[in-house]
């Protein structure tokens, strides 16, 4: 009798003791079949949360729409005056504040101005669908960082030195087609008079900011990022160079002889893009030290013509620059 009890206990243990089967069932495997193969239908049309938005005042705007299934969608906001474009993408069946909020930033330069923006919602898989609406920006987004200059006002001759040594450089503020605001700085010319690659240079001194030295948000070279917007017409023979000058003789003024320059190793090849692009790099790339960053007295722009590749007579080379700013912790995020 004792033996048979052991047997029954064994049986109960094996059947009940090993019977616990818990499985993950709260979701399903793979992509949703409805999303993958179901017909697309719009449940609610594209709408904007408010007709106007004051980004400078901290406002944001969001867009709403609803579909019957999850889809890849693209929301494109285009400035009617600036031509700036902001693209927001997602995969969902709902557009709302969580995934379709615009804080005034941009995807493609220039930056947005105070303007009416056209908003288009597209579904790549549903080529026939397009939702549209508009929103008016009353002010632009406030970007973080220390703006050195946005070239919106005429620069003092004391603070800017134009090195037109070979009488072939045109440099100055130009209005219209700016990346930010109304104007930007342009350098253009040909290396025709003295064919030595050098077209000209411009020195922007720290005194532009009212101080002898630049006041950076941080002096840690790895954390300090230089940012600017650079304009190119994709001309094939131009190079742009940006130097940062450190006051080596501690006299508080820029003197090329005793002072030392730091440069990003790679030049900006102006043939590689057309229009505005953002330039950002940590100051550590120039080799500058934390101590040096406390004594930066000038930024120099150089325009170079690649005479090895130029035809004869050489073609004009040029670039524009706008919104020179320094940020801490990372590059300027548009």
């Amino acid at each position: 009798m004792k033996r048979i009890n052991i047997f029954y206990l064994t049986m109960i243990f094996l059947v009940l003791g090993l019977a616990g089967c818990k499985h993950e069932k709260e979701t399903f495997d793979g992509p949703s079949l409805v999303d993958r193969f179901g017909p697309f239908r719009v449940v609610t049309d594209l709408e904007v949360s408010q007709p106007t938005v004051d980004f400078e005042g901290g406002e944001t705007v969001f867009f709403t729409a609803q579909f019957n299934k999850n889809v890849e969608w693209v929301l494109e906001i285009t400035g009617s005056v600036s031509g700036s474009v902001k693209i927001i993408e997602g995969f969902s069946n709902v557009l709302d504040a969580s995934n379709a909020t615009w804080d005034g930033g941009t995807t493609e330069l220039p930056l947005f101005r105070n303007e009416v923006c056209n908003v288009t919602l597209m579904i790549p898989e549903e080529a026939e669908f397009m939702g549209t609406t508009t929103v008016e920006t009353l002010s632009g987004k406030q970007y973080p960082g220390s703006i050195f200059t946005a070239f919106e006002e005429e620069l003092s001759g004391v603070d800017v030195f134009v090195g037109n040594f070979e009488f072939e450089l045109v440099a100055g503020i130009r209005t219209g087609n700016a990346a930010e605001g109304e104007s930007y700085y342009i350098m253009e010319g040909t290396d025709n008079v003295v064919p030595n690659f050098f077209v000209g240079l411009v020195d922007f001194k720290a005194t532009l900011t009212g101080n002898n030295y630049f006041q950076f948000p941080t002096t840690v070279p790895e954390d300090l990022f230089f940012n600017c917007f650079m304009l190119s017409d994709a001309g094939p023979h131009g190079l742009g160079i940006i130097d940062f000058w450190v006051d080596r003789n501690d006299n508080g003024t820029f003197e090329e002889g005793p002072d030392q320059n730091f440069r990003v190793p790679a030049d900006y090849n102006l043939a590689t893009w057309e229009g505005w692009r953002q330039i950002s790099h940590p100051m550590s790339e120039t080799g500058i030290t934390q101590e040096d960053l406390e004594k930066v007295v000038a930024i120099r722009l150089l325009l170079i013509s690649d005479m090895n590749a130029q035809p004869n007579p050489p073609l004009q080379v040029d670039f524009g620059i706008d919104y020179m700013t320094f940020t801490a912790g990372g590059p300027l995020e548009l």
Binding site: R3, I4, I6, F7, T10, M11, L14, V15, L18, A19, G20, C21, K22, H23, E24, K25, T27, F28, D29, G30, P31, S32, L33, V34, R36, F37, G38
Partner: protein
Amino acid sequence: MKNIVTKILLVLSVLLWTSAGLWAQDGGSEATVADDDKSKIRFNGLGRTLMSQTSIGGDVLKADTNTIGRLTDGEFLLDLAINATPNKTSEVQAIVRLRNEFGGFFGAGMSVEVRELWARGIIADFIKYRVGDMDLAMSPYTLFSPDEEGFVNEPAIFQPLKEVIDYEQFYTKDNTRRLQGGKLDFGFNFGTILEDLEVSSFIARIRGTDFFTVPNRLIAGGELNLSTVTFSDSLGTKADIGINLIHTFDDLQSGNAVTGIRNTVATVDYDLTIMDKGNMALNLSGESGRSNIARAERVTDADGKEENVMLSEEDDTFMDVGLTFKLKKQKLTVSASFVDVGPDFFSTGAQSKRVEFGANKTYYNRVGVDRNLRQMSTFDLSRDRSLYTFRTADRLMAYDPRYSNTLPYGDATPNRQGLKFGVNYGSDNDKVAARVNGAFLSEIRGQGTFELKDFTLIKAATDINIHKFANWKNELRLTLGVQLETTKRGGVEIEEVDLSSTLLDVGLEFELFSKFDILLGAKLFSSEGRDYIPIRENFNDIQDFPAPYIADDQETLLGVGIKYEFKKDIYMTLQYNSFNSELGSDNPNNYDFQQLFVLYNMKF
């Protein structure tokens, strides 16, 4: 999972330490031990000659001027097994294969290779060992080669070509897997409660390194089986309990690979005889366990010391428990069981399939104007050895829902829950032998939807020995087999699944005169409906569903032939097979085959 493995090893150690008596296993059916100390060398093996002519026709060849209408191929093959027993506790065997393709002359198309090599014996009259090639099976959830699809009760006429596949791929009736490594077995005798205990362990390499990105893959495991004494003489109650553990892993010290898989499965299986009295027997049997799949990475710490860290892991469980009732005199067995195999349960040793869907077919792999892949059919499944494999895969292999959708990975198919049943009647020597197996299962977790698929599978087979009804000396046997399978899922229209398939096997063997058989057979297959076949990535996660799979398939394989058996295991058969595949009406990919072949097979 690690705790379970540790506990099992602990239990094993305690049992070994507390065992009352020891006795050596003589190896049972495995070890062949010489009767005396004299060394012996034996020669045996297999010889085979196969020549076939295969022609293709049908709509798929319209406007196709590239496809050759008729193929002639064949082989002459000799597997010479040299078996030596240098003493009464040691045995070695090598099988050398000499093969020449049909049409090969003076070395062209000829190959010489070692097909099998092993040694085995007994150490100290206690431990049985084996090194080299070996065929191993544990339980259906740990190490097991599940039966392939497309067969219910294969007509005798189609069996010779199937036997060629089985032989080439080392398939056995015990569902073993061919491995290469080492194995140790030993056992113990006990006095009370426990009657005996057997321990078996092995390690094998299932993939070699390329010394760059592919590391060695090894599989190691063991089982501990214990049997109790009879608890109640009046009822005959006793228990057989087993603990199984198997671990598949990549050796990250081999080659330059830094990542690899870890797959561990630990199970407990049992067969409890509740009653075994007179004509009746009732057993409760089952198996439960847990699997773990992980991806390991070899990292070097700041001190330069290397260690493996787990990048990601997934666990799941399974349970299979059922009752079996036997009426011995009536030769009737009825069984029913409940199964619950988790969606994330993964056992590479048990779920790897025999059929490698997607492999290149021997006969007309690409046909038609656009050279598209020809859809696989029962013609290919019944004879094309290149579609079969004995490898273990590190993820769930592709399957064809037309041929098997309920249990494409055998009993260990993951994401299944429900009832299985079986009825067996008679034996091969009776006038009628019949069996019916089935399953009513559903998914545990949906695929692409929260809706769950329901599966119904019925397999029935019977062998009718007509000559025994008529008291004829010469044999006349009719064999029938049918498989019905449906898959359904509700939900919105996109989610709906409704796929059904039917496979009918009919065979007739007529012994015209002694050892000379006339063979007739047919395989009729149809499949209709739609389903979604997932594409899987790492960890068997579903990456995507391609377009819905639409089946509208009618296949007919007919065969007529003769077979003469010179003596046991030596025969020759001449056959003509005709196959027709209709993939929907007016489908330009419809095709048909005609095949004439002669096969001479000799085991000696």
